[in-house]
Symmetry: C3
Amino acid sequence: MLGICLDNVRKTVPLVHNITNYVTVNDVANILLACGGSPIMSDEPEDVEDITSICGGLNINIGTLNQRSIQGMHRAGKKAAQLHHVLLLDPVGAGASALRTNTAVDLMEQLPFTVIRGNISEIKTLALGSGKTRGVDADVSDAVSDENLDSAVAFVKDFAQRSHAIVAVTGAIDLVSDGQRCFVIRNGRPEMGKITGTGCQLSGMMTAFVVANPDRRLEAAAAAVCAMGLAGETGWSRMAPGDGNSTYRNRIIDAIYNMDGAALDKGAKYEVR
Amino acid sequence: MLGICLDNVRKTVPLVHNITNYVTVNDVANILLACGGSPIMSDEPEDVEDITSICGGLNINIGTLNQRSIQGMHRAGKKAAQLHHVLLLDPVGAGASALRTNTAVDLMEQLPFTVIRGNISEIKTLALGSGKTRGVDADVSDAVSDENLDSAVAFVKDFAQRSHAIVAVTGAIDLVSDGQRCFVIRNGRPEMGKITGTGCQLSGMMTAFVVANPDRRLEAAAAAVCAMGLAGETGWSRMAPGDGNSTYRNRIIDAIYNMDGAALDKGAKYEVR
Amino acid sequence: MLGICLDNVRKTVPLVHNITNYVTVNDVANILLACGGSPIMSDEPEDVEDITSICGGLNINIGTLNQRSIQGMHRAGKKAAQLHHVLLLDPVGAGASALRTNTAVDLMEQLPFTVIRGNISEIKTLALGSGKTRGVDADVSDAVSDENLDSAVAFVKDFAQRSHAIVAVTGAIDLVSDGQRCFVIRNGRPEMGKITGTGCQLSGMMTAFVVANPDRRLEAAAAAVCAMGLAGETGWSRMAPGDGNSTYRNRIIDAIYNMDGAALDKGAKYEVR
């Protein structure tokens, strides 16, 4: 069921416009190519409207935002919304600075995001208007676990309803909800947290998945989460003694490159609540 | 014949100033080091004149242009031209937005480029004043093939004459012409298109090749194209089951690192028309 | 003795704010994660004060400086100084342009740096007010060698005293001094110079080491230098035929990921003068 979402990316080669941080942008581009999409990057306000017009989706990531790129996010977002494109927000570091929190909140208020994807701290910041983000990594005390799963699912469903978006909270257990249903996903490995940008990569890839599956957007977002986690598992199984996080980064992108819908269906670990 | 062009890079260690996009800049730096050159990056208008003065060549790539870096391109280009440095233009995404098209055309009108390198859509945009660029990748319908090779060679020769530059159009078949002769090159693999930035890498490396070979610039530009394609072949031969585009990226740069002139002469596949 | 400095990084997971160049930023983030630290990147003047406040150290690298990021460096630096955070300066390319030299000198005059790390050309530029930097790589004629070791050690001690900072000069032989003692370090391999950004990576990692070891800052800075060099040795030992600088980059970060204090103690090659 989720596998077809990946197959549709490879069939339709969705072009994704990324306004993303300069830390992980190369990996975002390569994982988009790996999954069958096509990336284009542009953040200059005078450039973004034309660029987003030829794309199917827009991935806005505020990881290394600046005053110029914030303008670019708004102009690109307005144009993408006019064209009914898929719009994804990755609020990197929301809660860690006033500028990041305010920028993410402003974007949410002014743009009809299709998907909002972040860690639990970032999403709580957006949902509750506050947060205790420790840097850009999730505060461990907030982590979704089997102990707090019921309340976490309720929180994500509620925020999805209020924001009129699919909300994806990623961590040891991932939650993806459109407000009605919630995918609870258990793919992935803890070592993925030792690589910079697995979240950014997922946001880019998720945009492509949702563009390629207009009739099943929730499943597409969940499929991207399962694919990323499964790639983390497959990539880890190929690690040799002495390998570390830099090689692991390559192995994960390689695993996406070699994944097809059947493998995703077989490896995806989720339940729907 | 082409191999000596690579040997000259390793002998003279040309310093190349790159104003290039933040997506693929790390790979551009590493491939420049791999081929024997030395990279330096600077795009701030107040910095670029000093930096370009100590270099032998300037590689301008408009992949993630912004208003500030466009100023940097013009100031660096004027200084480099005064000093008779090698000047290369990589018009990434020309045709995909008005800003990109206009910036590339402005740069061409104001600077005496030694080389212009792009895919067929980008080069047609510059040559014909129009284009149907689909994102930053070449439109398949425009691809140079055995069927349209004669007209493609004639087009590239004509544009080289009119622009007073060496023109390199890269794709499944690569064409490199100074307006008189045209190298038709058949190195490379289609999987290279699944890595972000092989074109950007080639532009950086080509700048070093042309700087290191002032008496045979056309051969040097063609040698860089052959070297990149041959590295794509060598790199692919070292791929293991489960490897994908991220590992392939590393393998290609590694192959350049280990290539010498004799290997390039042996592996280069071209004819001159 | 140095090994405990690495163990302390893994125990305390120091959060490091990096204002660094876009060429090597991804590798800086991954090596910080590899050694047990946590990276965050932000260069927007309106963002940096909040971000640096939640961190333990600030790594300022001027590799692709621009007018906006220079403002960010000063604002972040002032806030970090108020909070008595660890402050590191990596003056990439000082001596290669007036803007870089002036920016590095301005930063030194206005901020109480804990550590200044660069190659011999850059450090001489700062110390002597002049330099013959060839691009961003060290001028070979300046290289620290067994022949000029006594005078080089005296120079580094003197500059450390005058700048009230730990000074780290890296090259074939590395020198790290607080003005009283000088670590003379002989780890590493010459092939590390064929990878872009090993110096930038070291600066990021060194910031984490010094943050995690407030009572032995000199030892911590020296430990970071030894760890980087040892990783270069370990990484090289894992290279296969056909591997080159791109794979070597991964192997070095991987080696940091797998290094513990005992291995560092065993592999560190240094004397104290």
